[in-house]
């Protein structure tokens, strides 16, 4: 690799590390979903409509609060901070109709869950995407 390219890549990586990387919304290829719009993703993760366009039930997978991608995800998706999201869900605790997405410890677990479940839908760093899953929406800075 060219040393200047190396430098540029290093700088970009450094930037990505500091500002947060691009995120990818991923599904199982068996879900027969090719692409999701941003509102469709919002409806699924925020409990309004938990069903994939192909008719399958959607199972959104969230990350724990301490995971760096989580804050990034909601900022990019709905421009809300984590406390705002917490208050949103807190409001719905007693009504019971809508529930927050199932939470997992880290992106890797989420990736694994999606890879093994055609209903699952999750978000991970774009860089971590592998062949087992399909990217349906990219959330860029």
């Amino acid at each position: 690799m060219h040393p200047i390219r190396m430098l540029l890549l290093g700088l970009w990586l450094l930037y990505a590390q500091v500002a947060g990387a691009d995120l990818a919304v991923i599904v199982n290829p068996a879900s027969r979903v090719e692409h999701l719009s941003r509102p469709q993703v919002i409806d699924i993760f925020l409990g309004r409509y938990r069903r994939l366009p192909s008719g399958l039930a959607a199972m959104p997978i969230d990350l724990r609060t301490d995971a760096p991608e989580r804050e990034q995800f909601y900022l990019l998706l709905v421009k809300k901070s984590l406390p705002e999201m917490n208050s949103y869900w807190a409001r719905l605790v007693f009504s019971g109709d809508s529930t927050p997405p199932f939470q997992v410890a880290d992106a890797r677990t989420a990736l694994d869950l999606v890879a093994g479940n055609p209903n699952a839908i999750a978000y991970i760093d774009s860089a971590a995407v592998d062949g087992r899953v399909k990217v349906v929406l990219e959330l860029k800075h």
């Binding site: 925020l46 709905v78 949103y88 719905l92 009504s95």
Partner: protein, 542 residues
């Protein structure tokens, strides 16, 4: 108390304040109601705003439970009659009957708000509609307005009461105190009004001071007036005494000459009825002095016109009196409409004047005219008679014969008796229109008026001689015998003086003496030779 200024003032202030307060309160209540209604509307909008974020979530998730919660929360406000929350095509919550009521009845006010997604601000996820009960809003606004009105009314009432109290303390109470003082005040007692303690230096204090000054002045005036009245009474009594007891008749006339008042002397002098009173029919002065009616009228008129006192002497005859009386009447204008007059009885003075005049022209012994009297009478007769009338006047010169002897024999007293008797005889021999005089001594004169016939004159002379020739009683049983020689003359030519005629009669009388006494001789005409002849005879008289 309705007459009390305090009560009236207080009532007036309270009534006025309450009326104004009520009007203001009503106006304010109406305005406040309107404002309050608008304010309630705004508040409902705000209410919607407070639930908006929850409503977004609710509509976004189509969460009926949340929708119901929001609706119940909103409905706890009494102005909210109904809520409808719609997410997309789904009605999440709707108060039963609210929509029907809202569409059918104008008593509902509808506030709708579009609800957007909490995550995609441009995406509409539903709508929340609030049905506000206008009646309830109005009722609330009215309650608020009424509360305001009541508060305002109370405030006005308290202010009015305060004002009434202040007016009472500062104005009406001092005035009542002054009024009570004035009511009890007796001016003569020297009492003064008290200045109310709180008003020493204000207008009420000054008023009291001025009233006191007035009272003080009034007291002085009253005292002075009292003194004057007493003085006047004294004067009046004095005047009354003078008026009643005066010898002078005093009276007052009005401008028509009617006697208004009079004193007893007036009644006495005029010989009026003593009982004459003012109450009787009014008497005019000229009626009381009837024969001088015109004269009195002129006098009053002159007096009123000139404004000067006027007087006159009048001869009156009292009712039933034989002799006439004389009064002096003076009238003097007093004021524009009245006259004061006095009358004095001047009968005595008049008689004295008459007797003085008589003394000058009459012989004291016989009462006949004296030389002066005869001459005056003749001068008057000759002065006013025409020549034709004068030719009818006969002058007789009468001289007694032997009178000297009577005087010498029996004394002067007897002589005087003879002279008096002769005078009576002469008087009885002539008519009343003729006159007889004594020239002095035993010399008499008679003037016969209207006699032109010498024979007639001769006859009268003869009668005289016969009467005189009668024996005359001279007292002490003695009688005197005298006779008379008479000369008769007629004025014979125009311009002849009485004196000249008398001289001719005198000459004729001497002729009679020379012819032997006790006879009458007719004087010759005034020829110069005859005059001379008579003149020569004159020298040899007795």
């Amino acid at each position: 108390m309705p007459d009390s200024i305090v009560a009236r003032t207080t009532l007036a202030i309270l009534a006025l304040s309450l009326l104004l307060g009520a009007i203001f309160a009503l106006a304010i209540s109406i305005r406040v109601q309107k404002n309050e209604e608008d304010r309630l509307y705004v508040r409902l909008q705000e209410l919607l705003s407070t639930v908006e974020s929850t409503a977004r979530v609710t509509c976004y998730l189509s969460d009926r439970t949340l929708a119901k919660e929001i609706a119940l929360g909103l409905l706890s406000n009494r102005a909210v009659a109904g809520i409808r929350i719609v997410a997309g095509d789904t009605t999440l919550y709707e108060t039963p009957g609210a929509v029907r009521a809202a569409t059918g009845d104008s008593g509902m006010r509808v506030i709708s708000r579009r609800i957007n997604s909490p995550f995609v601000p441009t995406e509409r996820v539903g709508e929340i509609t609030l049905y506000a009960s206008q009646a309830e809003m109005r009722a609330q606004a009215r309650r608020y307005g009424w509360n305001m009105a009541v508060v305002l009314g109370l405030q006005v009432a308290f202010v009015a009461a305060g004002v009434a109290l202040v007016v009472f303390m500062l104005i009406t109470r001092p005035i009542r105190s002054i009024s009570n003082d004035l009511h009890r005040l007796e001016v003569r007692s020297g009492m003064r009004l008290r200045v109310p303690r709180t008003n020493r230096s204000d207008e009420i204090g000054r008023l009291v001071a001025d009233v006191n000054a007035l009272i003080c002045g009034l007291t002085t005036l009253l005292d002075r007036e009292h003194e004057l009245r007493i003085e006047h009474q004294v004067q009046e009594r004095k005047m009354k005494l003078i008026f009643d007891k005066a010898e002078t008749g005093i009276f007052v006339l009005d401008s028509n000459g009617i006697v208004q008042s009079w004193n007893p002397a007036f009644v006495r002098i005029l010989g009026l009825d003593e009982r004459m009173t003012v109450a009787a029919a009014p008497q005019r002065l000229c009626d009381l002095l009837a024969p001088h009616e015109r004269h009195i009228g002129d006098l009053i008129q002159r007096c009123l016109t000139t404004g000067q006192p006027c007087d006159t002497d009048l001869e009156i005859t009292r009712r039933g009196a034989l002799r006439s009386e004389w009064i002096e009447l003076s009238i003097n204008p007093i004021g524009p409409e009245g006259l004061q007059g006095v009358i004095n009885d001047i009968t005595e003075r008049k008689w004295m004047e008459v007797s003085a005049r008589r003394l000058a022209s009459h012989d004291a012994l016989t009462g006949l005219l004296n030389r002066q009297g005869v001459e005056n009478s003749l001068a008057e007769l000759f002065g006013r008679s025409t020549a034709a009338r004068l030719s009818q006047v006969a002058l007789l010169q009468i001289d007694l014969d032997y009178f000297k002897e009577v005087n010498d024999t029996y004394g002067h007293e007897a002589g005087d008796r003879v002279l008096c008797q002769v005078a009576r005889s002469l008087e009885s021999s002539v008519r009343l229109s003729d006159f007889v005089g004594r020239y002095g001594g035993d010399e008499f004169v008679a003037v016969l008026v209207g006699v032109h016939d010498p024979a007639k004159a001769q006859q009268i002379a003869n009668n005289m001689i016969a009467a005189i020739g009668q024996p005359i009683d001279i007292g002490a049983g003695n009688c005197a015998h005298v006779s008379a020689s008479i000369g008769i003359a007629f004025p014979s030519e125009p311009g002849e003086t009485p004196d000249a005629v008398m001289r001719r009669a005198d000459a004729a009388m001497y002729e009679a003496k020379r012819m032997g006494r006790s006879r009458a001789c007719l004087a010759s005409l005034p020829a110069s030779s005859q005059s001379n002849r008579v003149a020569t005879v004159e020298g040899s008289s007795t």
